[in-house]
């Protein structure tokens, strides 16, 4: 993120509204969605903003499946497109997430997590969609999952989500929670040039030579908008370099391997974390989303009480930033993972821990945020 900070236009925005500012700054011109609490303000703000753009398109679709379909269609036609939803809608979108991953269609999906399974707690925070964001769609596929903890970060991470989507030709899920989405804070409104903005690579060879799923240096094939002379086939079936269905084992394997490799090779680029006083930390908190804010206060309070506490904020949840976490686990005695679920990221932390540190979890699934005091109790 290269954000230039200077005196500029400011606004007092909801996290959800900041997402829209980020999306527009990243070049998003297409939104299709279905209203659902607590993500609705994203859609409502898009409904006001997009028609004001010369080529902006806003669509309210009949359900979340259709929303994802429209977003995929728009992306194939060359648009930077997004949708937003919450738990129940996120479940409905899983089918199309897999399709986007398989066809390598860039898009951004913001999931504002609410409490509970099923209809659960529509107006309370939760973080129960973390593993679903990674593995919700059937079959092995790569995906990027990001998070944001405060309102300015909602804006920044939305830009990042679009950049990653375009750069790696992949669906990117930005996980927010009800607290982050519904908190108002001051945000500097982006001016053109504030953010580095990526757009997908397009083919530069004559159409007859274009192979839509050919290996490239980065593993990311160029992608022309529909209707520009490159007439190719897009399918969710396992496909060959030309995009046509294949079941030949070597072609199928090559496709899946490249799809993973295009992201695996760039872990250093996509795995974003923030270190807060971790250099000498004995007691480490690993957190993301609104819980990271509580953790920040708790860690400060612990430091004031003489405990060498530190905080690792995960901005990228998947691919799980293993190297960052592993390094800190080796140097601390205790790692505390507070989450608004029964233990979805702690599962990943434990997986990479390999006995270095004691891993404790704080889990809350009653629709209430984990308060700083609760975290402080575990680390102090």
């Amino acid at each position: 993120m290269s954000q230039v900070r200077k005196k500029r236009r400011e606004a007092f925005l909801l996290g959800n509204e900041a997402v829209v500012e980020g999306a527009l700054a990243a070049g998003c011109t297409f939104y299709a969605g279905y209203p659902i609490t607590p993500s609705t303000e994203i859609m409502e703000t898009m409904a006001r903003r997009l028609p004001q753009l010369p080529d902006g398109v806003f669509l309210q679709m009949e359900d979340e499946i259709a929303s994802m379909g429209a977003v995929i269609g728009a992306s194939l036609a060359g648009r930077k497109a997004m949708t937003a939803t919450s738990g129940p809608g996120f479940s409905l979108m899983q089918e199309q997430i897999g399709y986007a991953a398989m066809t390598e269609t860039p898009l951004v999906l913001v999931d504002v997590m609410r409490g509970g399974a099923s209809t659960g707690l529509p107006t309370s925070p939760g973080q129960g969609d973390v593993q679903q964001a990674r593995w919700g769609s059937h079959g092995d596929h790569p995906i990027l999952v990001l998070s944001a903890a405060d309102v300015p970060e909602c804006l920044e991470m939305t830009v990042t989500a679009f950049n990653f989507a375009e750069k790696y030709r992949t669906p990117v899920v930005l996980l927010l929670d009800e607290i982050t989405a519904h908190t108002r804070e001051k945000v500097s409104l982006p001016e053109p040039g504030d953010f580095e903005v990526f757009s997908r690579p397009v083919p530069t060879m004559p159409p007859e030579w274009y192979k839509p799923y050919e290996e490239t240096l980065r593993g990311v094939p160029p992608m022309p908008p529909l209707g520009t002379g490159y007439r190719f086939h897009v399918t969710g079936l396992s496909h060959d370099l030309l995009g046509f269905p294949t079941s030949r084992p070597e072609e199928v394997a090559a496709l899946v391997e490249r799809q993973f490799r295009k992201i695996d090779r760039f872990f250093h680029d996509v795995q974003l974390v923030e270190h807060v006083m971790t250099e000498d930390a004995e007691a480490l908190v690993i957190a993301y989303g609104c819980v990271a804010r509580s953790a920040r206060l708790a860690v400060r309070q612990a430091r004031e009480a003489g405990v060498r506490a530190g905080l690792l904020v995960l901005k990228t949840l998947f691919p799980f930033p293993r190297s960052h976490v592993e390094k800190l686990l080796r140097s601390c005695r205790l790692a505390v993972v507070p989450e608004l679920n029964v233990g979805q990221i702690s599962r990943e932390v434990k997986r990479v821990n390999e006995g270095y540190a004691a891993v404790r979890t704080i889990n809350r699934v009653d629709g209430q945020i984990i308060a700083p005091a609760q975290i402080l109790k575990e680390i102090a």
Binding site: E62, A66, M68, G73, G78, G227, G236
Partner: protein, 278 residues
């Protein structure tokens, strides 16, 4: 007539495997030919045509034609088509679907595509059955018909597709058959040239999965059945005994702009308002 087949050859992807994947006597190839002839007749270039197909036998059509082709998820062809059309209204977007695609799993998308009158042509290949999965009943399987999932005869009524789509607000609704292929060419071409959402239902027999279990002796037998039972709408209305007869032709023809046109007009109004205020 030589141009008929040779024309189609020009629109096929020559690196694809032929013959077509469809069973002997399947009407899908005929619809594919009809689609190609309609596009050709309208003088559209291959580049400006997008075919979005669903899942099922009909979905395989997309891979064969040398347009921009998208093979979507099951039932979702119209959603992707909607996104494409709104993103680039200059494209001619055709959603090719089967009866399962369009009326069962994608039924909601169909009525909403019709309601918002998005400028997409839905070409539905209705064979009354789920062919690719091996012959299960669909929401257009006639009452009483046999299938692997209605082994005692279908209890449920079939959708009246014309009334459904008409009520939902489509610009155009038409029905043709693969036996009446010249007429079908015309129906598709008319649908492609009319603004808004246009649905063409093409009755295309599936002998393998539907015909065999329902008293047909061969694919040819099913074509004969279509020939006998399908009646042009005007004649159908005059029939005294309509039982078992299928009206074909144009049922709905409204002059209504597509959503993409209305959207562009709204954007233009906003632009002018801002320009005027400035």
């Amino acid at each position: 007539m030589a141009e008929v087949t040779q024309l189609i050859h020009q629109y096929l992807r020559h690196n694809k495997k032929f013959p077509l994947v469809f069973c002997p006597g399947c009407g899908h190839g005929i619809v594919l030919g009809s689609l190609v002839r309609s596009v050709h007749a309208l003088g559209l270039s291959k580049d400006e045509v997008v075919v979005v197909a669903g899942i099922g036998c009909s979905g395989r059509i997309a891979a064969y034609v040398d347009f921009n082709t998208v093979h979507a998820t099951h039932g979702r062809a119209l959603t992707i088509a909607t996104g494409i059309k709104m993103a680039n209204p200059g494209l001619t977007v055709i959603a090719v679907m089967g009866d399962g695609d369009a009326f069962s799993i994608g039924g909601n998308h169909l009525i909403h595509a019709a309601r918002r009158n998005i400028g997409v042509t839905a070409l539905v290949l209705n064979n009354f059955i789920y062919g690719m999965t091996g012959g299960q009943c669909s929401s257009t399987t006639p009452e009483g018909a046999y299938s692997h999932t209605s082994p005692m005869g279908q209890l449920e009524a079939a959708f009246d597709i014309v009334e459904l789509t008409r009520a939902a607000g489509a610009s155009g609704v038409a029905r043709g058959t693969v036996f009446h292929v010249k007429a079908l060419d015309g129906l598709i071409a008319a649908a492609l040239s009319q603004p808004g959402f246009n649905l063409v239902e093409a009755l295309t027999p599936c002998f393998t999965q539907y015909g065999r279990g329902n008293g047909f002796k061969s694919a040819v037998d099913m074509f004969k059945w279509l020939k006998d039972k399908a009646v042009p709408l005007e004649a159908y209305e005059k029939l005294e005994d309509k039982a078992g007869r299928i009206p074909i032709g144009v049922f709905v023809k409204r002059d209504a702009p597509g959503l993409e046109t209305r959207y562009a007009a709204m954007r233009q109004r906003l632009l002018e308002k801002r320009g005027g205020a400035a």
